[in-house]
């Protein structure tokens, strides 16, 4: 007989019918329920806070790093590249043509990113597929002109200190909606400290209420 079998035979469970009906066994059952409750609660609670946001968003890298601070230093303010057109529409992320007003297919600096830009995009005449952190759903109509020109607002109010960054942070894409994490905000519970932390409808409404005394009408943004 092997050691294992010996052990099995020594098992006190040989008395299988022992003590099945006594009271303290019931109390132990309730205790187990509480333990299971606590365990499940903790696992789900912590996953909800810690794991879920990680799972919900996938990380994507920009095609190459873009140094905002360097560009601002060299050529001026935001409007040089992200300008309003004559008809009031916003040009958004500049196309390759705008970049080529300064850049050529010879890299201007020493960085690898500059080389990637010059070789893969400028030389091949290909638009850079930038990932846009601030892209709103198509059902939202937003006029930059109304905010910048008429409202006299600063880019920072909504976009933060993006002009001072020297590297592009990873683009976190919501796996369900496909939108950037910047819209909901880094804080999973949606709590914000700065005006640029989130870009949800309520954030627009809050600011409108503060500035205009009214949250605005549906059709102002949903046209």
């Amino acid at each position: 007989m092997s050691e294992l079998e010996n052990k099995a035979n020594d098992d006190p469970g040989g008395g299988a019918h022992h003590g099945i009906n006594n009271g303290p066994e019931d109390d132990k059952g309730l205790g187990l329920g509480v333990i299971f409750f606590m365990g499940a609660f903790l696992v789900c609670f912590l996953s909800g806070w810690l794991l879920f946001p990680k799972l919900l968003y996938s990380k994507k890298e920009q095609p190459f790093n873009f140094d905002h601070s360097l560009h601002v230093e060299e050529i001026g303010d935001c409007e040089t590249c992200h300008f309003l057109r004559e008809d009031g529409t916003f040009s958004g992320i500049p196309g390759l043509e705008s970049c080529m007003e300064c850049h050529t297919d010879e890299p201007m600096g020493e960085t690898d990113d500059e080389a990637v830009f010059a070789e893969e995009y400028v030389a091949q005449g290909k638009e850079v597929p930038w990932l846009i952190y601030a892209k709103q759903p198509d059902c939202v109509y937003f006029s930059h002109a109304a905010h910048i020109v008429a409202g006299g607002m600063d880019c920072k109010t909504c976009h933060g200190h993006i002009g001072e960054t020297s590297s592009s942070r990873p683009y976190e894409e919501n796996r369900i909606t496909g939108y950037s994490r910047d819209i909901w905000g880094k804080n999973i519970w949606g709590i914000k400290k700065n005006s640029w932390d989130r870009m949800k409808m309520d954030d627009c409404a809050d600011c409108h209420l503060e500035e205009m005394g009214h949250k605005g009408y549906c059709f102002q943004c949903h046209k």
């Binding site: 329920g33 299971f36 409750f37 499940a40 609660f41 369900i176 496909g178 999973i188």
Partner: protein, 706 residues
């Protein structure tokens, strides 16, 4: 340790509580709602630079200025052009849906050749040499006059270019489809002089007497007419509508005069008789003393108010009161042309209404009728014609009108080849079966269509045309407008398919034929041709997008000759048998002629016009008998039998059946074809002696429960 029911309960509750106190629920709810809003099959236009380009809409004869909104060069919206002399910023639903025609499922994407019952794709080179070869054979056989042309409109450089080709080829057989414009030209020719047209200054009139003209449902230049009507209240102008059903125009009118269908001419003549008998006619505005003319003798004898009452059903007292109200107004105008004024019109009726304008001294007066000169802005170089051309072109035309041509072709042929441009006779003419049979008698048919419509389906070769958004063209206003404006239609987008400008096609064809024909068409392209022939106005035209040729009343009073009216025979319409008279009804939302409604326009048609697959016919409850609203009924005329739905309507005269025009297309476009019936299928043409017009405004019909 033992795992029992409580443990499981604890596990479940714990998990639920844990999730509830984490952001998972809120976040997932938010995200899934955004996800549903962004389902990928929702079409969303790209972002980009917005530009606006000016052009002219040439879907209908209205010639409205349009502004095309583009994003990154792609057209996304058509709007009316502000401050344009015709439409002043307005646009109709056909115009704003113009972009749908670009991608229409029925568009012809490449040149086609018929092989048996099927079309096969061919290259442009093959197509041109095929057509040029066939035409060469016809010319060599010495019968160039056996080439015919049916086109949609008679103005602008494209019409002249086609006519030039026919001349150089040697054929007089060019025909235009009936239109308000051509009917007005015939009226001017019958009463005043040839080569003139009539323009109605509805904008400045204070008393508009409309003989069934659908002023707000597509008569003339639709947007201009709708705007003229809209400003009526402001300028205190009255509208009196002579009609047999409560059309939208009648509904908007100050007064409706109900007449029996087909007796509008008699009412107009009755009004003329009252004016002659009771008032002093502005004699100096007429040629000679009108009282001595056969015309006035006829009016005196045959159009007493009592007789007019018997014919038209309008009370004698009302006839007299209407005539007096008309003459007493400061700037009255009488407007002819039932519905859109194109198909099913009698020249006698047009002429009678124009006679009323003449007798009231309303010719060439502000707010009246302008007897206009043609817009002579085009100067083509002299054509080159060889002996064959001279001989052929000098021969007599086969027929006086397109309806007569159909009649002639069906009976004994006469054409060995036929060009069809901007026209869909197999749908738009009455008795389409006969038109199709007539087409079969022509050996070789060449279509310049953009869409595989009923007529293109009958063709042997199709040289597909780019649509108005893809091409350059001068567009001349007409259609009863009291001004002449030439607009420039410009390409808003590169041709979506392998199509060509029909002007370029014609030049290629002429050059392929060689000799004298090629000499007359020595331009590099249609664009070069247009620039040359528009000469003086080209610069303004290309800078501003339009040129106002004339917007003032023509000088002097034109001579009016009433001979046609004093001898105009009354035609015996409607034909056939039955208790009812079936009449077509023009609707703003449905295009009727060679233009085909867009999917958007068809979507806006109400279910009192089109219900499922059925056309809804209007009948008066008093004559409905056992038929109830919404019943499916069998409608029978001498031309055919169809099933329709009944729409009881107290706004239509008893005994009359109103059927919407513009439905029942039978080509490959699931959004437009297979809906309702084509009213033209049910009506037989009645050719009016003296004008050649198809004057069949309706036909006798029976209606019984299906």
């Amino acid at each position: 340790m033992k795992i029992d029911r409580r443990s499981f309960l604890g596990l479940g509750l714990g998990a639920a509580a844990g999730i509830a106190l984490s952001p998972v629920g809120v976040k997932l709810t938010d995200d899934s709602s955004i996800w549903t809003q962004n389902w990928p099959w929702t079409p969303v236009p790209e972002d980009g630079e917005i530009t606006y380009d000016r052009s002219v809409c040439s879907l209908c004869p209205g010639a409205c200025g349009i502004s095309v909104r583009k994003i990154n060069g792609r057209p996304v919206k058509i709007e009316g052009l502000d401050d344009h002399p015709i439409n002043n910023g307005g646009a109709c639903l056909h115009g704003i849906a113009g972009l749908q025609y670009l991608y229409d499922p029925a568009r012809i994407k490449t040149p086609l050749k018929k092989n048996g019952n099927k079309f096969e794709k061919i290259s442009w080179d093959e197509a041109i040499s095929l057509v040029a070869g066939k035409l060469g054979e016809i010319r060599e056989s010495g019968t160039p006059e056996s080439l015919g042309l049916i086109s949609g409109a008679d103005n602008g450089s494209m019409a002249q270019l086609f006519r030039r080709f026919m001349d150089a080829f040697g054929s007089p057989n060019t025909y235009t489809m009936p239109s308000l414009e051509s009917n007005l030209a015939l009226t001017a020719a019958a009463l005043h002089s040839a080569d003139r047209s009539l323009g109605f200054d509805i904008d400045h009139s204070d008393f508009i007497l409309s003989f069934g003209a659908a002023i707000i449902e597509g008569w003339g230049s639709p947007v201009a007419c709708i705007q003229a009507n809209a400003s009526r209240h402001e300028r205190k102008a009255k509208l009196v509508q002579v009609d047999y059903r409560l059309s939208n125009t009648a509904n908007a009118a100050d007064k409706i005069i109900a007449v029996k269908p087909g007796t509008e001419a008699d009412l107009a003549l009755g009004l003329c008789a009252v004016l002659l008998a009771k008032t002093k006619i502005a004699k100096d505005s007429l040629s000679g003393d009108v009282n001595k003319l056969a015309f006035s003798a006829m009016l005196e004898k045959e159009y007493t108010s009592d007789k007019v009452e018997a014919i038209t059903g309008v009370k004698a007292a009302d006839v007299e009161a209407l005539a007096m109200a008309f003459i007493k107004a400061k700037a009255p105008v009488a407007v002819p042309g039932k519905g859109r004024g194109d198909v099913g019109q009698s020249l006698r009726e047009f002429a009678a209404v124009q006679a009323l304008n003449a007798l009231a001294g309303r010719l060439n007066k502000e707010g009246g009728v302008f007897v206009m000169w043609p817009a002579g802005y085009l100067k083509f170089p002299e054509n080159v014609m060889d002996d064959t051309a001279e001989q052929g072109a000098g021969k007599a035309k086969l027929a006086g009108s397109v309806t007569e041509l159909v009649d002639k072709l069906e009976k004994d042929g006469g054409l060995s080849a036929l060009f069809i441009y901007n026209a869909n006779p197999c749908y738009a003419l009455n008795n389409t079966e006969k038109v199709k049979a007539a087409m079969d008698k022509v050996g070789f048919k060449v279509s310049f269509s953009s869409f595989m419509d009923e007529t293109a389906l009958k063709s042997d070769v199709i040289l597909p045309a780019s649509i108005f958004l893809e091409r350059l063209e001068d567009v001349v206003s007409g259609a009863g407008l009291a001004k002449t404006v030439v607009g420039l239609c410009r390409p808003m987008v590169k041709p979506v398919f392998d199509t060509k400008h029909p002007g370029d096609t014609l030049i290629l064809l002429a050059q392929a034929m060689g000799d004298s024909i090629a000499e007359g068409f020595s331009w590099d392209s249609y664009e070069a041709c247009l620039e040359e022939v528009t000469g003086d106005i080209w610069d303004t035209l290309s800078d501003d997008g339009y040129v106002v040729i004339d917007d003032k009343p023509p000088v002097g009073t034109p001579v009016t000759d009433f001979t046609f009216l004093s001898s105009a025979p009354k035609i015996d319409v409607p034909m056939g048998e039955g208790d009812f008279t079936l009449v077509p009804v023009d609707k703003m939302r449905l295009a009727g002629g060679s233009m085909i409604s867009s999917p958007f326009a068809v979507k806006t048609v109400s279910d009192t016009v089109l219900s499922g697959k059925y056309s809804v016919v209007e009948i008066n409850p008093a004559t409905a008998g056992a038929l109830k609203d919404g019943d499916v009924a069998v409608l029978k005329t001498a031309m055919g039998t169809v099933k329709v739905k009944i729409g009881l309507n107290e706004g239509i005269m008893a005994g009359v059946i109103g059927m919407p025009r513009g439905l029942g297309h039978t080509f490959n476009n699931p959004y437009v074809a297979g809906k309702g019936v084509n009213v033209n299928d049910l009506i037989g043409p009645v050719i009016e002696p003296g004008s050649g017009l198809d004057a069949a405004f309706g036909i006798k019909a029976t209606l019984s429960k299906a």
